[in-house]
Amino acid sequence: MIEWALDGLLVLALLVTAVATLASRDLFRAVVMFIAFGLLMALVWVRLQAPDIALAEAAIGAGLTGVLLLDAARHLGYGRADPCEGQDSDDGQAGPSR
């Protein structure tokens, strides 16, 4: 029973972070949510008795992807002296799932 609760909670957290990744308006926050999603995926692989994938996911999904996307987000999102490229705030498509 406790295992079912754990699995259910993990799945719920997975889906919440996935939605939050897509729905958050701040690009930085979206990337952080995506990193959290990667870490949760590593936990899920442990629950699925796949320690190999868990290791790879922890190193890749949380570490490498995180650095890569944070670095890219810094260059794309924050380096804004050009106000005309504010595309994800006023069009409303950044938060479609709400």
Partner: protein, 233 residues
């Protein structure tokens, strides 16, 4: 109004997609698997040369997939490098003076190198292997890169080409050699299976780390060339 309609249609499509997929999953789950793969694998594990089933699948039973995978990785690496702004490698802006990162680097990079070695070695009989080791190696390289440590081997040149192609070419060489020796493509001779797998794993680790690191490094650092980007960032 039109936007709302578009979102509604998209939501409907996604729900239908999810419903159909879930129904399929449910129906598949109701039918028993035609082949008992874990059982089949456990029976043949002795012939593979390694004791860990996943390594056996990756590098012996389904090594064709792994060969193609490293091929894809090399192509991705080449495509990434061709976008590279190679001058950014010696960009002084990249040298950070963040003391936290320096301290982290001093402690973590040797540790991560040891961890990568351990993971590679562990792959033969417990969770671990070339992919994880390569990822950790690449992560330590990324850390060094963020700290501004110059890594000359990532400049276009012989060393980079060699490192990128090493994994794929050694793997292919083994495959072709076994085909020429009379058995099937990629079928290792049973006596040499273990050392061959070990060699392939080592070169795969280096190549995977090299490709991932090269892809990370070759991301254009567009700061000096684009004035409208400003100094922020």
């Amino acid at each position: 109004m039109m936007r709302f309609l578009g979102v509604a249609i998209m939501v409907a499509i996604c729900l239908a997609f999810a419903g159909g997929l879930a129904l399929t999953v449910w129906q598949i789950a109701g039918t028993p698997a035609p082949v008992n793969l874990p059982h089949l694998l456990a029976e043949n594990l002795d012939a593979s040369g390694v004791d860990h089933p996943i390594t056996a699948v990756l590098l012996n039973f389904r090594s064709y997939d792994t060969l193609l995978e490293i091929g894809v990785l090399v192509i991705a690496g080449i495509a990434g490098i061709s976008m590279a702004k190679t001058t950014s490698l010696e960009d002084p802006d990249l040298r950070t003076s963040d003391s936290l990162l320096y301290a982290l680097q001093r402690w973590f990079v040797p540790l991560m190198l040891v961890l990568a070695g351990y993971l590679l070695w562990a792959g033969s009989d417990r969770p671990g292997g070339a992919f994880q080791a390569g990822a950790v190696l690449a992560a330590s390289g990324v850390m060094m890169r963020l700290g501004g440590i110059p890594m000359d081997f990532l400049r276009p040149g012989m060393l980079l080409r060699f490192g990128l192609a090493l994994g794929f070419s050694v793997f292919l060489l083994v495959a072709v050699a076994s085909a020429l020796a009379g058995s099937a493509f990629l079928a290792y001779p049973e006596a040499f299976a273990k050392p061959l797998i070990l060699i392939i794993e080592v070169v795969l680790t280096f190549s995977i780390a090299m490709v991932l690191l090269a892809l990370f490094v070759s991301a254009p650092v567009n700061r000096t060339e684009e004035p409208e980007e400003g100094e922020a960032g």
